[in-house]
Symmetry: C2
Subunit: 249 residues, 2 copies
């Protein structure tokens, strides 16, 4: 209590609490139109194309005008990361497991549709209204399972992390590896060939064997979504087992 505790301006604006100035000209913008413009740029041209001046010119102001609404570019990025999230799916009447599977998949698809999210540190605990709504729905879905609130939050965090991980993997698997651009190596199966070329079977016995057996084969035997469902089921099995432990009937 020794220190003034107030939310930073951006957080307030994220929650729609735009300060209404009593005097002076009306603001021409609000945080929403700014983040929307930034998101459009990121969607179209990638995160690298998002610059303060770029966003500013898209909304029709000078670059420096943005700093009336955002303290730094960092702020803008976190606002973007919240604003991309749509409404979460509705858990009404669904079994927790079905819902969480749907929820995690939707989360992953969301990230894949806006892959630039991966280049923001999404790991920071959510502060914005939309991501918190997702969290709320996940917790709600776990009502009646016997888990305590802390456990519910942990489950949601773990699933969020999994959605991120899988989205990132799928993204690089589809679009190729940035490091290998222009080297003729493009897909996941080529990745395997690279490994085969570089790996010393004595130093990397298990991995070399896996590569030789074609575990990175890619196209052949590829089932849409198989990898995602694999890990997801792993996690949900774990949750189910935890719930069973909490309700031993």
């Amino acid at each position: 209590m020794a220190q003034e505790r107030s939310l930073p301006p951006v957080v307030q604006r994220m929650w729609g609490r735009e300060p209404m100035p009593r005097r002076g000209p009306r603001p021409r913008l609000d945080l929403d139109t700014i983040t929307t413009a930034a998101i459009e740029i990121a969607d179209a041209e990638g995160m690298a194309a998002v610059s303060m001046s770029g966003v500013a010119s898209r909304v029709g102001v000078a670059a420096t005008a943005l700093y009336r609404y955002v303290d730094s570019k960092e702020d803008l990025l976190t606002a973007m990361a919240d604003a991309v999230a749509p409404e979460p799916p509705d858990p009404a009447g669904m079994h927790w497991r079905d819902y969480l599977a749907l929820w995690t998949r939707a989360h992953r698809d969301l990230i894949l549709q806006h892959a630039w999210v991966l280049s923001i540190t999404v790991y920071a605990p959510p502060m914005g209204p939309r991501r918190l709504l997702w969290l709320d729905r996940a917790i709600a879905a776990l009502a009646g399972t016997g888990l305590d609130d802390g456990e519910k939050i942990n489950v949601a965090s773990t699933l969020t992390g999994y959605a991120l991980t899988d989205a990132a993997l799928e993204h690089t698997a589809k679009l190729g590896f940035p490091e290998l651009e222009g080297s003729g190596i493009e897909g996941a199966s080529d990745y395997g060939e690279v490994l085969a070329e570089v790996l010393d079977p004595e130093a990397y016995p298990a991995l070399a064997a896996a590569v030789r057996s074609g575990a990175f084969g890619g196209a052949e035997g590829w089932v849409e979504d198989a990898d995602f469902r694999f890990g997801l089921d792993l996690l949900l099995d774990g949750v189910e087992r935890l719930i069973a432990r909490r309700q031993p009937r």
Copy 2:
């Protein structure tokens, strides 16, 4: 086969294949000393302090000299991400579950000790010798479980992602949230208070209830590592169940 397929220079250098020039002056550097210098800077002052000129002046050359060893800063970053990894723990004689728990924990601790890793896209499939060695050990630990190679790799990927997720969470929980710097909000429990202030219980019923019940309490009832072990056990339970399905005896 239509295209020349050759590894990019950095990848070759990561694997110790430094080109030995036949003529001209001997190179004063190699990739290793460069990445070592960069890592020292990142460890001491954070990723933001890693600039080409900074790294260059630390190794005693002009900034542009680095481009003889690295095609771009991106390249340097991926080399760094590989070079921080120490030797993985030795799986000899351990049960797969014990080893993977140890492995994942070591992985997380590694990231926490070099938190700047989180600001690199670590999601790209590993190409460097050290991270691939970690992957090799995880696969090796799963020998004799009846999983096929693809499944083993998926397990390792999922655990890697979990280590990342948890490291990021723990990092921000300890050091506070960058967005809230200078606002008097510092730990995880303050985070809960912020949420309480901002959340509308009607729009966020489950989350608001969790917050009120003190699920973000932080210090009280905090057990070292509890959150990490929670998710890890979730995952390993899932793996165990999968293995049981593969070997139904």
